[in-house]
């Protein structure tokens, strides 16, 4: 193994690591605010990537129908439990009118001729709203349940979403166009343009999230909810709103990660899970609480993965997921009080 290979593997590792970092941040965020361990994060990634692939090949993306279905379901749940006319009105607007309008718009657009930026926006517009809808339907009715129940629901939602993914995308995988074909020479190292896009996008997203949480009222409301749900509720922050907002952000991060990862590897309907789980390993390194540790862990996971795929490619996933054992051991040695759980 010479310096060039090390540099290449390192570049691969950091690129993947940046994507895992985004996922890890979303997982930490969702867990902190809603106590949901968000297994379906990977499905948002896969759906985003496959929607983009459909748009690129000029097809009408079938995820729109999923959006319409999700919307109708959410509206039904809202109608079943809502109290005021205004809430219903808003629900009709977001869960029925918006998906139908989007479907109509896409029907009229010449999909094959759209510029990349428009495709990105459309992919976001289709998949992201399903995040808050999912929260409303699956999690909001049991928001106060123990972490374990929320986790099992989360796994159940993941399974259902994988099945739906297979139904609408089929078993074939897709790879999308990189956002940049450029190549840069850095000494003896060739750096791909897409690598820079991934790193740049990750940094921009992380900074944007930081600003959102540090500077905006909604961001502060989410932080307050993460620290003390009841306290936040007494200050007038609706936990339901906080949950939906969190799932919205997680979906944005999921879809963007999907768009970033699809030019690097072929994405199948079920690829999201393994990619998401690697984000998990990173998030667990951060104890599901610390953002910087989670991001650092993600880079570590990315590097470990790229180097182990060089030495023992068949055992790449074994090595990455076994990493969790020493991490958990280290965590269990550093925490030594008897914990009281609900």
């Amino acid at each position: 193994m010479d310096a060039e290979i090390i540099a290449m593997l390192g570049q691969d590792g950091v690129t993947n690591g940046a994507i895992y970092a985004l996922l890890a941040l979303a997982l930490v965020l969702v867990f902190a605010v809603t106590r949901v361990i968000f297994i379906p994060q990977g499905e948002f990634l896969a759906w985003g990537a496959l929607t983009m692939a459909a748009l690129e090949s000029g097809h009408f993306p079938a995820t729109v129908w999923l959006l319409v279905g999700c919307g109708v379901l959410t509206l039904a749940v809202d109608a079943f439990s809502a109290t005021g006319r205004r809430t219903i009105g808003r629900s009709v607007l977001w869960n029925l009118a918006y998906p139908l309008a989007l479907a109509g718009l896409l029907w009229g657009l010449p999909i094959a001729e759209l510029p990349t930026a428009a495709r990105v926006l459309i992919a976001l517009a289709i998949v992201v709203p399903m995040g808050p809808m999912l929260y409303r339907v699956a999690f909001q009715p049991v928001a106060e349940a123990p972490v374990l129940v929320l986790l099992i629901i989360s796994v159940a939602v993941h399974l259902a979403m994988v099945g739906l993914g297979l139904l609408i995308f089929g078993p074939e995988g897709s790879r999308t166009q990189p956002f940049s074909e450029a190549q840069f020479e850095l000494g003896s190292l060739m750096v791909g343009g897409h690598t820079l896009v991934v790193l740049g996008a990750s940094v921009v997203l992380i900074v944007a999230l930081y600003l959102f949480f540090d500077r905006t009222l909604y961001g502060k409301a989410l932080r307050a909810t993460a620290i003390n749900r009841n306290g936040a509720r007494l200050m007038g922050i609706s936990p339901a709103l906080a949950g939906r907002l969190t799932f919205f952000l997680a979906a944005v991060i999921g879809v963007l990660s999907g768009l970033l990862v699809a030019p690097i590897t072929t994405v199948y309907y079920d690829s999201g899970f393994l990619i998401g789980l690697k984000g998990f390993v990173a998030a667990i390194i951060g104890g599901l609480a610390s953002y910087p540790l989670a991001a650092g862990g993600a880079i570590l996971v990315g590097l470990l993965e790229s180097f182990s795929s060089f030495w023992a490619s068949a055992f790449k996933d074994v090595i990455v997921f076994t990493l969790i054992i020493p991490v958990l051991m280290w965590r269990s040695l550093t925490s030594h009080h008897v914990e009281e759980e609900e």
């Binding site: 009715p141 139904l167 068949a314 914990e339």
Partner: protein, 611 residues
């Protein structure tokens, strides 16, 4: 909830069926099934049995113990691959070849291997808070799946074939109908041993895990050990299922041991009703049959092949957890009116041995200059107090004075920053509350910590945990009945002693709050203590109940018990206790007889403000 238990108690009329009869009918049906059913259904029942075995482990782990594993399929794989490799591989070294000579030896080998792996995984994850275990098992489930698929000697993704059939007493089980009896013998053995285990001293300790670690530890339960025990038992059940699977199929490959199957096992336990051993059977039946059926019809509906049943399973799971978290078993049990078997208390059982009680007047508990700081906040500052045998001491003070923190320092829940706590002359600061409980200190909680679904009697029996010694295996095989009778007798004595005799077999959750507090005292007494720490025992009690409680405490005192109570009700305190210690802002501001304290200017100032 309350109304529910009442109607059930009222309906426990003679018109109900005896549990033995229902069980007998079930056994006959089970035994006759392969003789009358077509081959297809016998095979299906074999798979139901295998799944039920795994789900049963999860009932114990998740439903009873509150821990979760998505990686049970990997343990099934461990059992399956161990026997597959040992019985088919050529050129094994001598001792391995010997193990491989009979499937029964490989079953043992698989169980030993699985227990080892489970202990290692458990020691890494079980100490962490609840959600790390499922995440860890998820990761380990994936790793093992890829390992099975990538190991040359395990046949890679193609798997291993040519596994020999199992022989029982020289009789070879070659077809599905014969194997059926082996599968269900395993399932029934697991079912009854699990049920026996839950109805024992160790079982109560396992069930106490859900009531909170602090309570269980204070009652002398080693909670880390209890968690490990159920994790290992669940893994062993899964391993046995894997062994059966390998010899039923006579072939293994990695597919049935993947994470998705692990998730399916958990679904079975939850759908069936994770708190009940019979729930495992129901869940395994429903999911296995439903899967078979959906795999038939869904591809026709959707026009292509794929695992579409997971969509239905996922949605079903969300609905079950949102609408009926106890699963299907309670619904089914409601259809067959079975009489509930009541525990019998054997008044002739030998009393449990008691510790030698300290002589009247001996100093039992002494706190010396105890200081506890949380960062910059000094919650307790130089607190000193002592309690003697045959004395009731009250610790009082306004809200936020640091009484609860002090209580935690004394009972071993927390460790003082400086200073010492002596229990019968021995330093106990920094010792675990479990150890302290063993020395003869027992306590109640400000916020009642009971197991609401368990009877009053069983709740109280948890207190006697350290006075018994029979472990998991004797409990599973009913070799603990003599000790169990003695423990229950002791619990019954304490229930009567505190005046809850009429509620002996009621669910603890159905009692009024005041009665629940009294129940906690009975539970504390059950550990044969010489010191009782009572955290606001009179809160929520009515006048009559308060008088009865005061009467009980006076009687305990006259028997030589040392009692420390934290209490807000001044009438109750002043008429009952021998001495009072008053705290404010983490410090002791007064100490003395009740009459002196009532006139003390510093105390009046603290309670009423400056005049």
């Amino acid at each position: 909830m309350n109304a529910n238990t009442q109607t059930r108690a009222a309906a426990a009329a003679p018109s109900r069926l005896s549990p033995k009869l229902v069980l007998g009918v079930f056994m006959v049906l089970l035994a006759a099934a392969p003789l009358v059913l077509p081959e297809f259904y016998v095979t299906l029942l074999n798979y139901v049995g295998l799944s039920a075995l795994v789900a049963l482990g999860l009932v114990l782990l998740t439903g009873v113990g509150g821990l979760t594993s998505f990686g049970q399929a990997a343990f099934v794989g461990l059992g399956g691959y161990t026997t597959a490799w040992l019985t088919t591989a050529q050129d094994l070294p001598g001792w391995l070849a010997f193990i491989g000579s009979s499937p029964w030896f490989t079953l043992l080998a698989g169980l030993v291997l699985t227990a080892t792996v489970a202990v290692i995984l458990g020691s890494v994850t079980l100490k962490l808070s609840g959600h790390f275990l499922p995440l860890g098992t998820m990761a380990w489930g994936i790793s093992l799946y890829f390992l099975f698929g990538n190991m040359e000697f395990l046949g890679g993704h193609g798997g291993l074939s040519g596994i020999p059939p199992v022989s029982v007493f020289g009789y070879t089980l070659a077809d599905n109908g014969q194997f059926y009896y082996l599968v269900w013998a395993f399932v029934l053995a697991a079912l009854f041993t699990t049920r026996n285990l839950l109805d024992s001293r160790e079982g109560r300790a396992i069930r106490a895990l859900k009531g909170g670690m602090v309570m269980a530890e204070s009652m002398g339960v080693d909670t880390s050990r209890a968690r490990m025990v159920i994790f290992v038992i669940a893994a062993l059940h899964a391993c046995a299922a894997g062994w059966l699977y390998a010899h039923l199929q006579r072939f293994v490959n990695p597919t049935p041991f993947g994470l998705h199957i692990g998730i399916e096992y958990l679904f079975m336990a939850v759908v069936g009703g994770a708190g009940q051993v019979w729930g495992a059977l129901v869940g395994a039946g429903v999911i296995t049959v439903l899967k078979q059926w959906l795999q038939d019809i869904l591809p026709k509906v959707f026009g292509s092949a794929g695992n579409f049943e997971v969509i239905i399973f996922g949605v079903m799971m969300v609905i079950v957890l949102q609408r009926a978290r106890d699963g299907l078993w309670p619904l089914i049990a409601g259809l067959v009116p079975v009489r509930e078997a009541q525990k019998t208390i054997d008044p002739a059982a030998a009393p449990l041995p008691r510790k030698a009680q300290p002589p009247m007047g001996e100093t039992i508990l002494e706190a010396k200059d105890v200081t506890r700081k949380f960062g910059g906040l000094v919650a307790n500052n130089n607190m000193s107090l002592h309690v003697k045998a045959g004395e009731i001491l009250a610790l009082i003070g306004p809200n936020g004075a640091g009484k609860s923190t002090m209580f935690n320092q004394l009972s071993g829940v927390d460790t003082p920053t400086s200073g010492d706590v002596l229990f019968r002359g021995r330093s106990v600061a920094g010792h675990s509350s479990r150890e302290i409980a063993g020395l003869g200190m027992s306590r109640t909680f400000q916020h009642v910590r009971l197991l609401p679904k368990m009877t009053v009697l069983e709740n109280v029996a948890i207190g006697a945990h350290r006075r018994g010694s029979k472990g998991v295996l004797p409990a599973a095989w009913r070799l603990d009945r003599e000790e169990e009778a003695r423990l229950l007798r002791e619990a019954a004595v304490q229930v009567e002693r505190v005046g809850l005799k009429d509620f002996m077999f009621a669910e603890a959750g159905s009692l009024a709050l005041g009665q629940q507090r009294i129940l906690e005292i009975a539970r504390a007494l059950c550990s044969d203590p010489c010191l009782l720490l009572l955290d606001e025992p009179a809160a929520g009690l009515r006048l009559k109940e308060k008088q009865a409680l005061a009467e009980l405490l006076r009687r305990l005192k006259s028997e030589g018990m040392a009692v420390l109570i934290v209490e807000h009700d001044m009438d109750f305190v002043m008429s009952l206790v021998d001495r009072v210690v008053v705290m404010e802002f983490g410090e002791k501001i007064a100490e003395g007889l009740p009459a002196e304290i009532q006139k003390n200017p510093a105390v009046l100032e603290a309670y009423l403000g400056g005049v």
